[in-house]
């Protein structure tokens, strides 16, 4: 048979029509177009558990929501990528998820550097990203309140949680007047130490800051950091490395006698489940001097949401066989926040959802979250406290001498003053 030009064209037309129908017609008739959520977090390396927990939290929320009929009656789909703690990778992921995959919303992101880099890209793509771990105050203070990038929201507590709250907690300790810092040598750690120093100095002019050591991502050995700050004879150490690096650092500190020499050790995000699991075997050797907080701790929620938290804990453990870390809870709550906002707006349109979400209040496992209109930061309470082994849990938890403050006290409020560091 001879193939004529006309037949070829007719064939091509038929294929095109079928493709068109399957994309917009036939499939659309069978099922509603899904709501697509693009997630990302660190999935490899010493911080891999945070990304994994973000993925677990998002997956659980989406499974529950789909069982209840989806968002606006539409099924929800998740696409999840590794951000590798690298700003270039994180922005590329966002572009791929929105442009190629058609994401309606984005969630997640572990690194503060990655989050800051994504800001302008979100404005360009005009998609909302609800950040669920990256902690730098600049994300909401500068990019949202300052530059007006409305597409940024944050469900997780920012660095106020571990720096200002810690300063309030330790301002009460008359016995501690010499502080040293082992800082994460990137945006997160520097912002943390600056806020802590600024707050504590105002409350306690007698306190001195005697030594600093900085550890970048992928630090191989922390013993040099520990020994150099201990040499300055501090009373307490303020420490911001996280994940596996926090475990490694705490092990070095233990064998170098830090918990005999010091009065207290503040492990900023020490309430993270991976850190608690990692130090579980040595908990007795900390002599009750290890203090920490998190962006959520699974063993505490405010009165109003206590049952919700218990249900979330049970569902999470049944689904994943682990305790939920804060990055999981924050992402779980971010997905529910998006659902509530989209349904209030009656649409998944970016501008309409932003409007619905500003000032919105959501009941979540951690507590009631209020998204501040000025900077899109969720405001909610998480306690700080002493890390201890309690009978109810297989690993240590932030469970003794809980220090609970109203976020009105320890969040920064607009208008924001830029912080020098």
């Amino acid at each position: 048979m001879r193939t004529t030009r006309r037949k070829l064209l007719a064939g091509a037309g038929a294929i095109g029509a079928t493709a068109y129908l399957s994309k917009y017609g036939i499939r659309g008739a069978k099922a509603q177009e899904p709501v697509r959520i693009g997630g990302q977090g660190a999935l490899s390396g010493a911080h891999a558990d945070y990304g994994r927990q973000i993925q677990m939290g998002a997956t659980l929320a989406i499974e529950e929501i789909n069982e209840q009929g989806g968002i606006l009656g539409r099924p929800v789909e998740l696409n999840f990528l590794d951000e590798e703690l690298r700003p270039d990778v994180a922005t590329r992921n966002a572009r791929v998820q929105v442009d190629d995959w058609g994401a309606d919303f984005l969630v997640g992101v572990d690194s503060s550097g990655s989050a800051l880099a994504m800001g302008p890209v979100l404005a360009e793509l005009d998609r909302i990203c609800v950040f669920t771990h990256a902690g730098t105050h600049r994300l909401t203070e500068e990019l949202v309140a300052g530059q007006g990038i409305q597409q940024i929201f944050r469900a997780s507590a920012p660095v106020y949680q571990e720096s200002i709250l810690a300063a309030h907690l330790f301002a009460q300790r008359e016995d501690i007047t010499r502080w040293a810092n082992i800082g994460a040598d990137y945006e997160y750690g520097h912002a943390n130490w600056a806020l802590f120093k600024q707050t504590l100095q105002q409350l306690r002019p007698d306190v001195e800051f005697v030594a600093e050591a900085w550890a970048p991502f992928h630090t191989i050995d922390f013993s040099g950091h520990v020994s150099s700050v201990l040499a300055a004879n501090p009373h307490a150490v303020y420490s911001t490395p996280w994940g596996g690096e926090a475990v490694s650092l705490l092990r070095s500190a233990l064998v170098m006698g830090a918990f005999n020499q010091l009065e207290a050790w503040w492990q900023a995000m020490g309430a993270s489940v991976d850190v608690l699991e990692g130090i579980s075997g040595q908990i007795d050797q900390f002599n009750g001097k290890l203090w920490a907080t998190g962006r959520y701790i699974f063993n505490w929620s405010e009165e109003e949401t206590r049952d919700l938290n218990a249900a979330f804990n049970a569902a999470f453990q049944e689904r994943w066989g682990r305790f939920p870390n804060y990055s999981a809870e924050c992402t779980y709550s971010a997905v529910y926040s998006l659902k509530q906002a989209a349904e209030a707006a009656g649409s998944t349109d970016t501008a309409e959802v932003i409007e619905a979400m500003e000032g919105m209040s959501v009941k979540t496992p951690a507590g009631v979250r209020n998204y501040r209109a000025e900077d899109h930061q969720a405001v909610y309470t998480v306690p700080a406290g002493r890390v201890a082994k309690l009978d109810d849990y297989p690993m240590p938890v932030v469970g003794e001498d809980l220090f609970i403050e109203d976020p009105k006290e320890y969040y920064r409020w607009p208008p924001f003053e830029a912080l020098e560091y």
């Binding site: 558990d49 020994s227 064998v255």
Partner: protein, 286 residues
């Protein structure tokens, strides 16, 4: 004064870590002429295997370290026999491509086998104590690493400089064809040398597990440091690697203490200076 001496001793421990890693890298380059990018991945595999033997199967720590080094040495034999042997005569970029390919393969295999989550076993009890040195508790674990580093240095020196086998290896490294004509089993020697290099990488990884979480990609952070050490000391020169490790270790811990914001930067500056002023490395020029 004592605080600086103490810090120096901590730095020496870090140097010995770097030395264990750079030793294998230098042996592979010095003898086989292979710039082995996957050396860090072999370090990582050593750590994972030791974690499995010690932390999961509950074997004795020493046995776990030994088994892990031997297993990776056997893997090294396979890599040498079936892959590296094919590319000895090709240009350097082919070696880099192949060995970098190994890095990606091993990273993903490790993720499949052990998952992406970091793991850290309990500290072996005999390594968890400390002894007072310069008025402060110095960790037993660090002392132990110091001891192993020096022991490996002496062992390698004896092996290459004082044994008949070492003499044959040096002959083969000097001139591969001539060695073969004189009746040396050059391919066999090369395989054993690469096994030794791989085993050393794994030894470093295995010994690191009481203090450092085991994660995929662990090798990437390590290999960069090892390359800095090797370049400063002179690529392929074992004594140079030892000196380079001490230089980088000391620079790192003293800058952590004295110039905390330049900790990252100083080893690179020194590497750049060495490359500019003495490109063959401090002890290079073989």
């Amino acid at each position: 004064m004592e605080i600086y001496l103490y810090q120096g001793l901590i730095g020496l421990t870090y140097s010995m870590y770097l030395w264990l890693l750079a030793a294998g890298l230098s042996i592979a380059f010095g003898v086989l002429g292979i710039l082995n990018f996957s050396h860090g991945a072999l370090f990582m595999l050593g750590a994972y295997l030791a974690f499995t033997f010690y932390g999961v199967l509950g074997l004795n720590f020493w046995l776990a370290v030994l088994l892990s080094a031997l297993s990776v040495a056997v893997l090294g034999a396979v890599l040498e026999r079936f892959f590296l042997r094919q590319i000895y005569n090709l240009d350097l970029p082919f070696q880099l491509l192949l060995t970098f390919g190994f890095v990606l393969v091993f990273d993903d295999l490790v993720k499949m086998a052990w998952g992406g989550m970091f793991m850290i076993p309990p500290m072996p009890p005999f390594l968890s104590g400390s002894v007072p040195i310069f008025g402060r508790p110095f960790p037993m674990y660090n002392l132990f690493i110091l001891f192993v580093g020096v022991a490996v240095a002496v062992g390698i020196w004896l092996l290459f400089d004082k044994t008949w086998w070492g003499r044959k290896v040096r002959a083969a490294a000097w001139n591969r064809e001539m060695g073969g004509m004189l009746g040396l089993n050059v391919p066999g020697l090369y395989m054993v040398v690469f096994m030794l290099a791989a085993g050393l990488a794994a030894l470093g990884g295995a010994l690191s597990i009481p203090m450092r979480p085991v994660t995929p990609g662990l090798g990437t952070a390590m290999i960069i440091q090892a390359f800095i050490v090797a370049v400063i000391g002179g690529l392929g020169n074992l004594r140079g690697a030892f000196v380079g490790a001490i230089v980088v270790g000391m620079l790192t811990v003293y800058s952590t203490m004295l110039f905390p914001l330049f900790e990252l930067f100083l080893p690179y500056v020194v590497m750049a200076a060495v490359l500019l002023l003495r490109p063959q490395g401090l002890l290079g020029g073989r």
